[in-house]
Symmetry: T
Subunit: 148 residues, 12 copies
């Protein structure tokens, strides 16, 4: 079971960017943490960062062609106007779980992509990623989720 | 570590209510599943159903007084206008994780309570509850979540 | 054929409450009138009053379990924000006919529940209830209404 | 007691038009059904179809001059922007009952004419017309409706 | 100098229609008053009533072809959604003065046609028509109005 | 019969200000024109200019105390947010006729004061003032306007 | 002179709930303070807490039947969507004074009940209750308030 | 293959109406051009003009009864509020192609009918009609359009 | 303890202005009443009237420089658009209590200044002023209000 | 005559992406079809796909510098928020024809780019591209389109 | 080259007013700083403060009559509803540069005057004034700004 | 002191793009002008153009890592929906000054990035860039701007 995690616009600056919201864990530290968790669960995990929405879209179509089983994505800066990304998610077959470190409702942010995801995990800081891996494994193990 | 799960308005009808959205698992079956999972994780789990927002609020204050560690809640029918419930969540100290079985963004539903929760898990059907327990355990274990 | 009529928030004060809008017939007089009409038509009619939306919801699920054939309801004070009630109506199988004594459009009131009802009768004062009984009998006699 | 029923824009195509919403009863069949019901109740019923809002308005003023007792009208296509028709209803003395075959709230349609009607019956398919005749007879028999 | 006055939807019912707003002068009495005023000023005045927006439009194009010098029009019922009428006014060369008997701002009515008129006189009851004739004569006498 | 004409904010610059909208007649020339017209009609006319809304309000209360019969006012720059002026017009007994040289609807300007006026004349350039004097004389001569 | 004070949703948690907004006085301490003030003024004061809107409504109708002279109420959590409570206030005869400890405008909260109250006191913390008692005594002493 | 082209409100004035938007080709010249193109393609083409929405609707139902294969229509003045026309298009079976000479998006015009058409051609002046004939021939030749 | 009371736009006309809303007590009578109450409480009270927002602002800065302890203000006509006044209240240190004689929520008026006040008293007619003096004395006596 | 066709975000997935909306023709098959049609008409046609808006913009400026005669573009995923693309279209001289396979009005999609195009063809599936080539040839042959 | 700087409502309180936003430089210190800078650049600078919008307008017309070359203005409290001021700026010939010390976008403030200015400098605290003088000198030196 | 100037989408076409708004100075000429000014002030200035928002973001993070002191940016085509860019500005430490050649308020354009900038200079054509350099030098020289 191979997963792709895409970190959207500005995530490369994690740890330096508004630490009162996003904490002080850097992108490199987060990657190490997730790679370790994936290994523990025996799941393949590919992590990519981009600031360009179109690049993310190209990677996603490519991932589906390569047989990746599920997409985890923190749209980050694309959350506000990533309509093309949303349409991309509608276009593919693999399930998508959207991730946010902060509680976006508390910050009055409306995600334009969320409606095209299978589900969402938000508000738990770095833990959001770990919980999302747990969620994706459950979704893929259950096939078509009962009662979704 | 004792948790309280409150099922909001209309959840007592789970399994019979719009199964194309909520699946065919009944409330009783869900309770059994969750109780078993809690036992496996060695967590205390109390499950309550109510159709009245004020009753949920009273239970929550009572739970905090009793020292319950965390609140899991599917606001269900209160998602649209549960402002008093939202104010209640702001009033308490224990973390709240909001749960939805369906992807509420896909259904164009705006949760008025979400801004007062620590985080949210949604869109994974019955799995949303299991993932939410995983999330709450992580939150409580980490103390103040890093990077939330 | 047994029907349940639920009178929503503030209906207990009928006859004393804004008589220029709702007339001077009291709740007790209205109940007598409707009971008599039901008897004339050989229909069972149970009438209940509540000021609490959640209590109404619980009664409705209970009614469906008991095999009540149809629900007549004047949402009254729940008309403005009764989203949980609306979701309840979507959850059940029995048809619902929404009743209003006054013309709510004329008063610029938007019913949030109406979209989940089978139909609505409004604006005819006390007569709205009698016409609604007539409507429910027709709906139940015709099975799935032709051309609805 | 003579009534006028006006069928608004597109009703001439009843039975052929979106049968999943409006059923398969044709305009001619509906007319026969209503004429029979009127005869049974000993009420005069004149039925007219028009696609032009102004023509409907002219007929209504003419009907009031001729002493017609009440107007039944399905505004149909005029429901969205029939402001002139609404003003006409305000201008006349005879009561108006607005009719819709479908539940317009469920279809998220806002009737601009409803505020000028005495009342409305909707959502019951072909039965809406029969219930509306019943309602109009009650309104006219009661004189000024008690508690309207 | 020949003028055309068109009375829009529902004006045929003047005197009978909501007299607390529009007074008790009938359409016939108004016509007599205006004809007399026109004669006094030596102006040709043609008065027409219609409930159909398209008919008004056809008359206006016809009037321009016949060389009528100016159009006086009370859009009446077309005030709310008469976009086609508005486009017609933009299409013609002759000046239009829009007339309302009541103060439409006080009634919170937005005229969709007003932006295409040369000017407007409103709020003066029957006097609005007399003032509008005065205004049109001034406009036509001044040629292109100074400082318009 | 004595009238007060108040010219609102920026009117002192008439003739120099956006002449493509307001023409080239200066404030002084306009005053001469209106004074002459008032003399011809045997009406007293007092003309005042102010850029301060509160000053206009003080003058209006003063005018009513002095027995001025009617107020003509071009709110000009106060048209957009002159709510205090609007409340003042509601407070007084004498009739107010609002004047605009340009067609404010065509310029997509909403007058917040208009709802408190007896009527309005607009869009006729300098002629708007002359027509407004005509209108005020008719209103005051007729006492309570017939059919207003 | 007997008064009823109802504390709405979440007020039972006063002193523990967001003390930066609501202070540290507990519900019990507040009750003691108010009871003492009522005694000093020789007024009967009954204090009740509820988290359920419908329960508050039932108490209000009951209070009016028992002859309570005036209602003091902090809608608290019901302030956002308490439309049924608002309709209840319209239904009763006794005056209502709405109370808020915080300045709700500063917090951008719109009270849906306020339009049905006689008046409101807000923003003065615990003092809001004492001032409201003063206000109610004045209202009841003056009978129909002069200049309300 | 017979087509019906309906020209909506104000199109009879083509060539004289706002030539900076619609050009100087007159209605008669356009008809000649289109008739010639239809002949060249061996397609029957009937062209009708109306200023009344209801008349257009009646023609459309009549055309479908007569077996016309496709409807070309420039809604023109009906574009803003032609909801009844839109419902008519939903009611019929034959494909509709909506035509505009100007780019309506550039003019910030929202077509209320477009959602009920098969497709639209706009912004190409007189050429829009020729392109629309080309489009309709392709649609009718292909039967159900691939990938529509 | 010296207080300043500013009466905003149109208050000079109190007693004559819309007495069905504001009562028949004149400005002079109100001043006498308040002066007497201030004397009874041993509080200095300066009362000023203005129709100009900027003049009120200048008085307020002057009052703060002079050491006035608190500001009572009925913004009256400034309630709708008094943003500069609101900014002024944010700029000063002394507490402000906003006063309204009528229930502004009932009249669907939104106060733009209220968010910058310490608190508000409204809806009690002339009594609103007396209650506001009581409130200000409590605020100033308590220093920083507990639980505000 | 050389044309450039740009396929916007997600078009590379044509045929696999939501086939119920976009059909089963793949991007490669579409390219073949269009190349053949271009050859038949003796027109040069260059086809490019991109998921990145900025890349499309760079290609467009480059195309104008290279002397490409006209731009055909299906903005696809850029339709929702492609404001930079819209500004680019305003910046260039060559005509743009916007293409959509589906009827975007029916899907309640608002194109933010359309206002900057010369015209649009939509709703005809794969045929939309063929009709758009026809339209562009007409536009370029006619020079400045008559009556655009 | 003589310039006029007008400081709008509440600026007289600079240094005491919300120092976390506006800093601690007082109005007198700012004036000294700007006078010195003007002297250094050999520019005449007149500085005036007002809390009344109408007074600002009168000064501006007066300045233009006196031949002042350019207007620098911090609308301050007039930024929210200074429509009359905006119309004044449109009326004059001299260029206006609007100044704000804070970043008004960050504070979610919409300037209603900005559309009538030549340009704006904001967000730089006291430096905003110095930069604005630099900007005005460049504008006046360049005559009609290239590429504005 | 080294600065980075980024020119957003479509700026590469400066001089050819809508010269009535942006003037005829080309991108190359502007670069020469700014380089010369930077040299004169002894400031390092790096100028880059991009049509892709994500590329701009990557450059900005890179610049901060390289120790660039301040960012000047004309978001140009990103002004409408550049939310990811805005979030990037919030993420970095160096000050940002946003530049626009035209007065964006006059064009009714809302900048979504401006709230994250330190300040803005707009409306002065090519001069906006020169003034912005002046502003940035002042900001960096003053350290934390006084009174920002």
């Amino acid at each position: 079971m191979n997963l792709l995690l895409i970190q959207g616009a500005n995530m490369e600056y994690l740890g330096k960017r508004q630490p009162e919201i996003y904490g002080t864990t850097t992108a490199a530290e987060l990657d190490a943490l997730l790679t370790q968790e994936a290994k523990r669960r025996n799941v393949g995990l590919e992590i990519r960062y981009t600031n360009t929405e179109g690049e993310a879209i190209s990677w996603i179509f490519d991932a589906e062609r390569r047989g990746i089983a599920g997409l985890l994505m923190n749209p980050a800066g694309f959350v506000h106007a990533g309509y093309a990304l949303r349409d991309c998610w509608y276009a593919i077959q693999m399930p998508v779980i959207e991730i946010h470190m902060s509680n976006i409702d508390k910050r009055h942010i409306k995600s334009v992509t969320a409606e095209a995801a299978r589900g969402m995990v938000m508000g738990l800081g770095v833990q959001s990623y770990l919980v999302a891996i747990d969620a994706m494994v459950r979704v893929l193990s259950a096939g078509k989720t009962t009662g979704a």
